[in-house]
Structures are given as structure tokens and as C-alpha cells.
Amino acid sequence: MSADAVDPITLGVVWGALQSICVEIGSTVQRTAYSIQAREGQDFSVAVFDAQGRMSAQGPYSPGHMGAMSFAIRNFMDAFPADRLEPGDTLLLNDPQLGSGHFPDFLVTQPCFWKERLVGFGVNLVHHTDVGGSRPGSQAVEGIFDYHQEGLRIPPVKIVEAGRENATALAIIAANSRVPRNVLGDLRSQRASLLVGEQRLRELHERFGAETVAACVDAMLDQTEQRVRARITEMRDGAYEFEDFMDDYGTGTPPLRIHVTVTVAGDRLAIDFDGTDAQTESGLNSYFNYTRSYVYAAVKCLTDPYGPMNAGALRAVEIMAPEGCFLNPRRPAGGGPRAAICSRVFEVILGALAPALPEAVTAANSHFCNATFGAWDPVRRRRFVGYELIHGGIGGRAAKDGCEAMSSPYNAANIPVEAVEANTPVIVERFGFIPDSAGAGKQRGGLGVRRDVRILGESIKFTNLSERHRFAPFGLFGGRPGKLGRTVVNPGTDRERQIGGKASVDLDYGDVVSFQLAGAGGYGDPRERDPEAVRRDLRLGLVTPEGARGDYGLET
């Protein structure tokens, strides 16, 4: 059956069903996952693929894995062609180049059979707490020169074969993690959710038959592609360049340039990272699948935020990055902490397309912080791994200020203080906005956020993962950059010291780490800001009288 032969009503019904299967898989992951970043931070993604390995629908979770998923499924299929798959199989990989760019991301898929025929795949990807390597959390920047120091690499393997668990593989995986129970628990959660998805996919085929479902998927992808192309056509043709820098890739290292050229030509977008710095001898590299994910996310935000996300949405976009640059490194480059790069990839696309789409873009966001640390808990007498996920604000927009205290495109929730403290021996001493940190503008950026954490562990191995300590979040159209972020150990004491955004340091029992995120960039000339808005910020204590005078010329 061809896509044209599907009637609009059947198409609507099948489309809705595929979407709801993703939601069902995702809500099962969230509710059954073990690790705190998956269940509270929702650092996972889910999707459904057809038998050809094309993504037919995705769930509304972290977009960062989406570009990766499309390619990862093909890599699974290369390793295990259809004739080597059978009902009850579950496949796993975490290879950075085949998957989503670093070892902690476990991609799991389960083929779905209907009438002994492969009809599709349910897929999910969960960020696991720790998969070994040199630092707890497996995301170190410093001290890494290739990925063999980052933990256990898993090529595509069947962890369940025709319903039988591969105990050998699971034992090896567990033995290589600092928190084996969490890893096994999260894997169980990934598998349980895919069982739910498989069941639903089978029911869909039961109801409509494989030919009709396949024809509907063809039609979905075509329709989505046409819509994205139509949106691109509305953009002014041209080549748009933009450049920004990552602070560094470890203490004492130089900045990393990201250069992008976005070419709009008719109904096609070409995005080329030529001019970007070379891959680093550190953990800070973004394997190409991961880079692509955030390019797709940015394009989607700017073209069709409420449209469907499937393989069709990707067809009109061509992405290039020279092999060997840090956005497309060669094996065996490290990649553990690559989450620090995603915001910048996303933002340079926004920055490049700002002249073409001034109403749609935002100025740069506060960068998030994703520090990890391992230590000995002298009270419970065990080692533990702590994990912080701190978000600031969004950059200013054409018609309004940047959204306050909101996750950037990687879209994760924060972790409640009361949950963190119940799970790990830390005391969060403060968590709030930093006055005067927002980038000034006609529409100001969101504020930076400060979170101070006292760690009650011995021999603490602390790994920072923060940004915008040297290069501030940019403003747009005359808007000012946000205030720089900082990471301070023991602030306000005589032992106060600043550490780098990528630093790996040893800390003592009771040390406080103060994470101070940058403010987001402003949009438009601050002198055009409504004085009432400035007075309101002043009343709320979000700007100080000095800030109001300095940034906006408001005398109080």
C-alpha cells in the first residue's frame, strides 16, 4: 500500500496511537527507574521505530538523544540484521560513536514481531549514574585522553535473548559500575517499559495490519518533511555565520571555538561546523550523533515547535562537521562530559539564524551545571556518588524577558533539595537567584542561580561540569551578555577559592561548593527597556539599585 492510499482518518488514528505508545513507554521509565537523574531529572528519551529503522514517533522527554537514536537503531540493525532478531530479544549499546556520545547513556531496544514478522522497535535511552572510568559519574573532563579511561564500552549486544537474560553480560556490566544496583535497576526499568511498548505496537498491527501501519508511517514522514520544508522556505535564503567559545576543557587549557555556517537555500538547511576547533585530549568532545541531536532540536524549535518529531523532520536538514573537530571526533576520543557542549551547539544555531528569524530566537541561556562527586559516607559507612543538576534561566526574547529558572533544550528537571539530602550525605545551604546576573536588554535574560552544597563525605573526588565562567552568554540585537558564572569552594571563609568549570579536585569533609550559574543574555537595547519593568525587578530584588543604574540608567 502506498502512502497516498491511506485515508486521512486512518492516518490520524495510527499517528495518534504511535505517539501514545511513546508516552506510555516514557511514563513507565520515569516511574520505575532507579537513578535519581532518570526519575527526578527525567534524563531519558523514548521513541518508536518502524521495521526499516525509521523513527516514527518520539516521546516528550530529553531531545538530546533524538538525533542519536535514529543512527543508533541503524547501528543495531547492522550488528543484528532482521534475520538474527527474534521475539523476546533486548539489545543494548553504549558505544559513544554508535550511540549517544558517552558511556553513561544506555540505548536499549526491543524488536516487535507481529505474525512472525518484524514490524518495528521500541527504543529508550537512559543516562545511568556510573559506568566506571576514572571518576565517579563517568563524566570527567580532566585526566582523560581517550574513552578507555571513561568506563565500560558496550558494543551492540543482546542482554536478553528470546526472553532469557544474558547473565554473563549483565554481570560484567554490574561489575564495572560503582553503583551496580542502580545500573541493573535502570536496565530493568528500560526493559519493562519496552515490554509495554511492544505490546501496544502489536495491538496496533492487530487492528490495522502491517501494510496499513507501514503506509501510515510513510505518510507521516512525508507530511512532516513537507511541513518542515515549507517552514524553511519561508526563511530568507542566505549563509548565516556565528561563533562562540567554550571556556576550556580543563584547568589551564585554552578556549574551544565553535563556528557554524547555516545556509538556507530554498527548502533546505545546511549546517556546517567548519572552522570549529579540533578534538581535545580530554573528556570534552561531542560525538557526531550527539552534535546532530542538538542541531535538530534547534531547527525544530525555530521551525515547527508543535509539529511531530520523526525521521521526516530530519530530511530537509544536512549537518556537516569536519572529522576530527571536537563536534565530530574520531575514536577513541573521550566524551563523558559532553552534556556541557549541547547548549552551545543549540545556541550557535539560534545566534546564526537570529537575523533570519528575530521573532523566534532567544539570546543565550545560563549554562547548566552537572557536577558529580564520589566520597565515603562515614555515617552509613559506604561510598556514594552524588549528582547535581542545576539550571538557570533562558535568554531574552523578542516580545518578553527570558523565562526564569527553566531548563535549556536538554530539558531536565532539577532535583528537590529534600530528595538529594535524603539520598546522599549533603546539605544544600542555599538555592536561589543571583541579583544583577541577568543580561540587560529591552527584554532581559533570565537570572543566574546559585546553589551551595556542603558535602559530608570523606576523601571526596569532585568533578565539576560547568560553563560560562569565561565566555558570558551572548545577548542579541543590542542586548547585553549575562554575568559570568563561577564555582567557589568554601565561599565567605578564609579557605575560599575558585575552581574551573571542568576541574577535578579532591575536597575535604564538610567543604561547601557554591555553584553560581551565569545569567542569560538580554535581547534588544537595555535603554529601551520599560522603566516599569526595571522598577519591578528592583522591587523584587532581582536587580540592585546599582544594577538598575548601571545597566538601565534608572536613578532611584
Binding site: V23, P416, V417, I427
Partner: protein, 677 residues
């Protein structure tokens, strides 16, 4: 049979206020009145007086009055309260503004958060700190607290929320602060998070406590005035108010915990669905309520609506994560933008229906009030399902031509369909949206819809109910009579209930909740005794469990640790596919519900007789390959025991039932239509 007590229920909705009175003979008297703004009590009192007169019952003989109100929800939506403040632990002033930070729309760069109810300059910090295990880390600094209280007075604060970190674990600091406040500023109303919502996760607890503080003064004044008006009419009982969790409580209790009555309408609707299920022998069912802008779906199991212990108020376009979280027991409801007014348009080669709605103003094209976008109601009219001369009791004449033209131009032509196919597509795709939502409330919660019945209410519910049961393989649909005042009947069938909870994080094996339950039972029983004059008929113990390390819990009955564990494993496997019996289980929140029983409501019986000769009307069904003659009946003329066979249409004042070809329905003794697939 003993004489039933005289009871009245009145439920304020967005458009109508509904009234039901049951007299000493057990007869139900119903009434409806337009809701009045800004003071909804005007319509309540006028309607009550009219109903008392109509039923010939003086207010003085009334044994019980139950009230359902959207007042709480309206105060929050319209940000009507003022002089409300929050005190937090030093260093955590911004918890409310920061929230959980997740994007509720992944790719929309223009989203905003809901405005917090309390602005930053009305939030104070106090030096104190408790840790997760309840131990004191920093003592409450009394001098600092007194300074803050002086500033609260100075600022003119009238209602205060206090939320200190880990107060669910140890409320001592919050209570000490409250003592200082009462001594120094007794005029300030206070809501402690350890009283309102003693559960972990600081943002959700703060949000709940703040809403409570926000509502307190207005709700207290409103309920006191309403009680006063009833007393002036010689009513001697308590005024009962419906809670979001489906139980009634006295006005005095609600004045203390107004956050609990913030969304009573849906709970009443589910209770009435459960009641009709019980009448017809279906304890497990889906309650389906489809109105003008949304469809609401919820699950009833074992005769009781499924509840959740947290919900979000005022989501943006119904998106999860966009509203204000409330730790309040409420109906486990899925609400989607699928109603009679939902707008249909071509989208990506198919038809998108909703989530936006033409509402009642301008309304569907066929209302002739300026609506230009074709809607579900327009499609139902074009298909011949609705009677243009008899819509809303004939008060509104529907414009068939207008509806046809709009669907033809805006849906059929762009998609290359003919008019009837397009109208059918709209009808079918809104059904799909509701089918998916029904799957969420049934399958995601571990229940196979094929084993459930469905109770349909709301103006559009019975138009779509039969298609929904077909798609889901549901065997029976129950279409109640008098569905127009269904939620008011729901108020009458509500038990008196009070829920209390405490967080105590502990391994289930090591848990010793006896003292906790004793304390909660005393608290809840006192409320029930005060409400009914009797000891509670039932105390339900429950506990939230999870595998150690997980972050979300399932609530199961608690009798003993081993039984709770078994119930948890069963529910877990049912909901998520597989349990992990070798893993340790942790208890988080312990819950107790005290229930007071009251006389139940007896619904009036329909007379049996001969099925009157129907009218005939052309209606479009795919099974008939197009237009066919359908039998058309009036609902109030149907005798008990009558059997109808589709294609048939049953009209009543507030709604229309569509029975597709080959489906059958029976009229039961209460005038309900029981449809079998």
C-alpha cells in the same frame, strides 16, 4: 423502608449552578440556574429558595446540605487574593519561583511559567534548618523570627504560608514559628506546610501550602456567609463542602484547609459515575464526561474512583508540568481538549481536532453566534446526530447550512473528501483522541478496558460514548438519565471523609507506623465526629511504597508490612509489566482516611410500558454506507425495560444519545440506557 432524610445539593459550575433535592418520599427534584458573577452565592440562594418552593419542603426540615464550588479554583486563576506572604528557610526564598524547571513544551522557546501566587518581595527567610532525618541542624533563631514577624505586620500581611525544609520529618520549627506569630501578630492567618501537606519535595509542598494560605480568608468568609444564609432559613445542620478527593467535609474544616476543595466538580462527576455503576452491577468502569471544551476521563475500580495524591492546577493548554502542583488527594483524571466546541482543521494530511475550542462564545458555527471554525458539534449536526430544532431543549436553533458550509470549505475540500466523509472524520478523530486518553486512564493504570464498563455524562458524552466503547472493546456503556445535573447528584452520594498523611521514610520491613497511625486516626476521627456526630464508620490505612532508590511511589492499603508488600508487588507488576520481588521496599508517606457514612441516595424509578412510536431522521453512519433512516426517541418517554436497536437517536434536554447500527440499548428501572456492544 425507613424515611430518607431530606437532603439538598448545589453545585456551582462555570455556566450553570445545578440543584438536587431529595424529599422525604425519596423523590429527586432538580433545578438549574445560570451561575452569577461576581457572587455565585446569589444564584445558589435564589435557586435553593426556588427548589424548596418547587418541592414543597421548608428549609427547616432539611437534614443535610452539600455544596460544590469552583470558588477556590477561581480565586487562584484570577489571582484575586492579596496580602499573602511566605516564610521559608534561610537560603530558600526562591523555591517557589524556581519550581522544578522542566520545559512543559519541549521545543517552544516562547513558553513561560505560571505567575507565582506570591511575589518575591512578599517572601521572607528565617534562620533555621532541619535535616532529612528530622534532626535539628540550625536552631530556629527566635530573634530573627521576631524581626521577620515585625516586618510581616509592617507590610500588612494577612495570610501567611510557612514552609521550612524537611518540616514533614519534624514540624518543630514551623510550630515554634507559629507560636511566635500568634503571640506577636494574632491577626495573621497561618498555614504550616507540616499541617497542610507533610510530605517531602519542597517545591510541591510549598506550592500546596501557599495555595492554602492564598485561599484561606476568602474561602472562610464565603463559607461563613453561606452557612449564615442557610441558618437564616432555619437550617440547623452543618454546611458540607465537597473536596477534590471526593469526600464531603464541614465548612469549618474546609475553612482551615481550603486547598482541599479546590477542584470538587470532577470528583463529584466520578462519584456519580461510580454510583450508576453500582446500580447497574459494574464496580469497575471508566467515567467519561464530555462537555463543550474538554473531555475528562477517570477510572473507577471496586466502586471507588481512583485517586492521586498530587495534581496540577491550571495547566497551560492541559500540558503536564505546566500547572501549580498541589499535594492534595484528588481524582486521577485525564483531561484533554476534546469537546463539542473543539475546532477541526486539516493538518499534515489528516484532520486535527482540538485542543483549542470555540467554547460557548462564539461557539460552533451552527450556534450562529459568529463562530467560523468547524467544530465537533457542527460535524455531529451535519451527520444528523443532533436535532437542529431541539438543541438545549429547543432554546437554540442550530444552523445546519452554516455547519455544512464550514466543514465543506475548511476541511473537506482541502483534504479532497466529500462533506459527509469530512464530518465523519471529525467525529471519528475526536473519538480517537478520547480513546487514547481512555487508554491512559485504564491500561497505564493496569486495567484492560475490555473488562470495564463506561459511564458517559456531559452534553456531548452520550453522542460519542458508543463509538468509544466500540474502539476500546468495552462491553457495556451506561448512559444515565438526568446526566445534566449529574455532578449535583454526586454531591449527595459523597461520604464524609477526611484524609491525613505523614512522610516517614523507612524501609518497609523496619517500619513501625503504629504510633503514626494512632495520631492520624485521632486527628481524622475528630473531624468526622464533628461532621456527622458519629464515630467514623471506617478507617482506611494506606502507605506509599517504592523500591529503595526509586523516586515515585504507589499507594497501597496497609494492614501489615507483608500484606502491603504483596499488594505493592501486584500493583507494580500490573502497572509496569514486572515487579522485582528480590528488591527492598521503602515506605515514604503514610495515609489515613476516616470515613463517615450517611444515608445513601435512592434514585427514582421509571415506569415500564410500551415503547412509543419513534420519529425518523436521516443520519450518516459508515456501517450503513451513508445516509439511513434512524429512529428518534425522547428520553423521558422511554419506559423501563424497553429495548432499542441502532441506528437510533435518543434526545433529551441537555444531551443526545447516538446508537450506531447494530448496537442495542436497554432502558433500566432508573431510566438509564444500558448499551451493549
Amino acid at each position: 423502608m425507613k424515611t430518607p432524610p431530606i437532603q439538598v445539593a448545589f453545585d456551582v459550575g462555570g455556566t450553570f449552578t445545578d440543584f438536587v433535592l431529595q424529599d422525604a418520599q425519596g423523590r429527586l427534584h432538580t433545578h438549574k440556574r445560570l451561575t452569577t458573577y461576581p457572587d455565585p452565592s446569589e444564584a445558589c440562594l435564589a435557586g435553593l429558595d426556588e427548589l424548596f418552593a418547587q418541592a414543597g419542603v421548608p428549609c427547616a426540615e432539611l437534614a443535610r446540605a452539600v455544596h460544590g464550588t469552583t470558588l477556590g479554583s477561581n480565586i487562584v486563576i484570577e489571582r484575586k487574593a492579596s496580602h499573602v506572604a511566605l516564610v521559608s528557610t534561610r537560603g530558600f526564598r526562591d523555591v517557589l519561583a524556581i519550581g522544578r524547571q522542566k520545559r512543559y513544551q519541549l521545543y517552544d522557546l516562547q513558553i513561560d511559567k505560571p505567575e507565582p501566587l506570591i511575589e518575591r518581595d512578599w517572601i521572607w527567610e528565617v534562620t533555621e534548618r532541619t535535616l532529612a532525618d528530622g534532626s535539628e541542624h540550625v536552631a530556629l533563631d527566635e530573634a530573627d523570627a521576631r524581626r521577620v514577624i515585625a516586618e510581616l505586620k509592617e507590610k500588612g500581611v494577612r495570610s501567611l504560608a510557612v514552609c521550612f525544609l524537611h518540616s514533614y520529618s519534624n514540624p518543630a520549627h514551623e510550630r515554634a514559628f507559629a507560636d511566635l506569630l500568634r503571640a506577636q501578630a494574632p491577626e495573621i492567618e497561618i498555614s504550616l506546610s507540616s499541617d497542610v501537606s507533610p510530605q517531602f519535595r519542597e517545591y510541591e509542598r510549598t506550592s500546596t501550602t501557599v495555595v492554602n494560605a492564598y485561599l484561606k480568608r476568602a474561602v472562610r468568609a464565603y463559607l461563613a456567609a453561606m452557612s449564615g444564609h442557610l441558618q437564616a432559613r432555619d437550617y440547623r445542620g452543618s454546611l458540607f463542602v465537597m473536596q477534590s478527593g471526593g469526600g464531603a467535609a464541614t465548612a469549618e474544616t474546609m475553612a482551615e484547609f481550603p486547598v482541599r476543595m479546590i477542584e470538587s466538580g470532577p470528583a463529584a462527576g466520578a462519584l456519580v459515575a461510580a454510583h450508576y455503576g453500582a446500580l447497574t452491577g459494574h464496580p469497575d468502569l471508566v467515567a467519561f464526561d464530555m462537555g463543550g471544551t474538554t473531555a475528562k476521563l477517570s477510572l473507577i475500580t471496586g466502586g471507588a474512583p481512583q485517586m492521586v495524591d498530587t495534581f496540577e492546577l491550571h495547566r497551560v493548554r492541559l500540558a503536564p508540568g505546566s500547572g501549580l502542583p498541589m499535594n492534595v488527594r484528588s481524582l486521577d483524571l485525564v483531561e484533554i481538549g476534546a469537546g463539542g466546541g473543539s475546532i477541526a482543521r486539516p493538518h499534515l494530511g489528516t484532520i486535527q481536532v482540538g485542543p483549542d475550542s470555540a467554547g460557548s462564545e462564539p461557539g460552533p458555527v451552527c450556534y450562529g453566534r459568529g463562530g467560523a471554525e468547524p467544530t465537533v458539534t457542527d460535524a455531529n449536526l451535519v451527520l444528523g446526530y443532533l436535532n437542529p430544532e431541539n438543541f438545549a431543549g429547543g432554546s437554540l436553533r442550530l444552523d445546519v447550512e452554516g455547519a455544512r458550509k464550514a466543514i465543506e470549505e475548511k476541511v473537506a475540500r482541502p483534504l479532497g473528501l466529500n462533506l459527509e466523509q469530512a464530518a465523519w472524520g471529525i467525529h471519528a478523530l475526536v473519538n480517537t483522541n478520547m480513546e487514547l486518553a481512555t487508554r491512559v486512564v485504564s491500561i497505564e493504570r493496569g486495567h484492560d478496558p475490555r473488562r470495564l464498563a463506561l459511564v458517559a455524562t456531559g452534553g456531548s458524552g452520550p453522542v460519542h460514548a458508543c463509538r468509544l466503547v466500540q474502539a476500546l472493546g468495552i462491553k457495556t456503556a451506561i448512559l444515565p438519565a438526568a446526566s445534566g445535573v449529574a455532578s449535583a447528584i454526586g454531591l449527595l452520594v459523597a461520604e464524609v471523609k477526611f484524609d491525613v498523611s505523614r512522610t516517614l521514610l523507612t524501609a518497609l520491613d523496619a517500619a513501625d507506623p503504629a504510633a503514626l497511625f494512632t495520631e492520624m486516626e485521632a486527628e481524622a476521627a475528630a473531624v468526622v465526629r464533628h461532621s456527622t456526630g458519629d464515630e467514623p464508620a471506617e478507617m482506611r490505612r494506606e502507605v506509599d511504597l517504592r523500591y529503595i532508590g526509586q523516586g515515585y511511589e504507589l499507594t497501597v492499603p496497609f494492614e501489615s508490612a507483608s500484606k502491603a508488600r504483596a499488594a505493592f508487588e501486584e500493583l507494580y507488576a500490573r502497572r509496569y509489566g514486572m515487579a522485582s520481588p528480590e528488591e527492598a521496599v521503602e515506605a515514604t508517606t503514610w495515609r489515613l482516611t476516616a470515613v463517615g457514612r450517611l444515608a445513601t441516595v435512592e434514585l427514582p424509578h421509571f415506569q415500564s410500558g410500551v415503547l412509543p412510536e419513534p420519529h425518523r431522521r436521516r443520519a450518516w453512519f459508515p456501517e450503513s454506507e451513508g445516509w439511513t433512516e434512524a429512529a428518534v426517541y425522547r428520553r423521558d418517554a422511554l419506559p423501563a425495560g424497553a429495548r432499542l436497536r441502532g441506528p437510533a437517536i435518543v434526545e433529551e434536554r441537555e444531551s443526545t444519545t447516538v446508537l450506531p447500527p447494530d448496537m442495542e440499548a436497554e432502558v433500566d428501572a432508573y431510566g438509564n440506557l444500558l448499551v451493549s456492544a
